[in-house]
Amino acid sequence: MLSLYQPGQSLLHRLPAGGKLLALSLFGVLIFLTREPLVLAAAALGAVLLLWHLRLPPALLLRQLAVTLLLLAFLVIANGLLVSWNEALIVGLRLLALVAAATAVTYATRPSEIIAALQAALRPLGPGGEKAAFTLGLVLALVLRFIPEVLFRIRELREAMAARGAPAAPLRLIVPLAIRLLRSADEVGLALEARGFPPDLTRPSKERIEVR
């Protein structure tokens, strides 16, 4: 599965992933603390400029943001009619700033960098954190491996149903799908155990041994 990340050389691309996530979270909190339309307008403008300076193809942005923008327009109109147009302005600017900034971070940050940042944040928490960082990496690798497999199984079952002239009933798809997937979970579980899972994280790993 391809991520939404778009390669580039912009300033946002070059910042560290952990810093971007922290800054975005802080931005998300701060923006709910103010109700000043001028401050919010400045924040929204800054966020939109941030997104604009990534120079993404407009079609790409539109496909990703169409639903959110429609809902945003609906919320602004609903607020204007039911509460006041001042309130509508506050809500609209606030959501625009948040969504634009968050979308910019997603398009400018490699998923692997976010994973590395999360693991780096977990590791200093002692043996538990070390184990969590390891498990996180393994589980993410597994889910990325399973998505195409599940899609393949779904197509296989649908084709088998179509070949027999059976109508595409959800229940007739879900039950055999779940059973096949649970079987493959057993196989992968055994394969993991055969390769020494759970690992002994108290032993020094290859990466941490320094060769002089």
Partner: protein
């Protein structure tokens, strides 16, 4: 947690993703085809139990954070979590947990009778529908500045589809549990 438990969480996370990516199934009597993504959440809760069940949608949320287009319609990224509908996504985690909490004792006793089906249906309705909607509507109301009742009214359009998914979840969980019990007897 043994290796199989560890595998089940990403497996059901992948199921939730795949159910959103695959072409939607037309249900005949509903005008719009529904995506089955929330069905995956209900199945995770009722088949895996509360803890493993909640971890599966949590992993999907993590994939969204990483910027993978794992939600229905190919959406994903931090923009979704910053948007007004993020509550419906984050509500999946407690939703699957509550579904599992209610479904577990039913599966441990006897799920094959008529009572078993209705018990599992109730689990999916409370966890997969009520809890998810509660989070989604509350978030929409807080972030969107609209009244709770307005937010609830706007979410009603998705209710018929979700009721069908709850029934599907109950029937599928019962059928799968008969051949492949994941929730062990105490």
């Amino acid at each position: 947690m043994n290796a199989r438990d560890l595998v089940l969480v990403p497996l059901f996370a992948a199921l939730i993703v795949a159910l959103g990516v695959m072409p939607p199934i037309p249900l005949g009597f509903l005008p719009v085809p529904i995506t089955l993504q929330t069905l995956g959440v209900m199945l995770a809760g009722s088949m895996l139990g509360p803890w493993r069940g909640a971890l599966a949608p949590a992993l999907v949320v993590l994939l969204v954070v990483l910027g993978l287009p794992v939600l229905s319609g190919g959406r994903g990224g931090l923009g979704v979590l910053a948007g007004p509908t993020a509550g419906f996504l984050l509500g999946w985690i407690p939703g699957a947990f509550v579904t599992g909490l209610i479904a577990r004792p039913i599966l441990q006793r006897n799920s094959q009778g008529v009572g078993g089906f209705f018990g599992l249906l109730l689990a999916a309705l409370i966890g997969g529908v009520a809890v998810v909607y509660a989070f989604g509507i509350l978030w929409l109301s807080l972030v969107g500045g609209i009244a709770l009742s307005t937010a609830a009214l706007g979410s009603l359009a998705f209710l018929p589809g979700d009721l069908i998914k709850a029934a599907l979840s109950a029937a599928a969980t019962r059928a799968v549990h008969r051949v492949y019990p994941l929730v062990e007897r105490p």
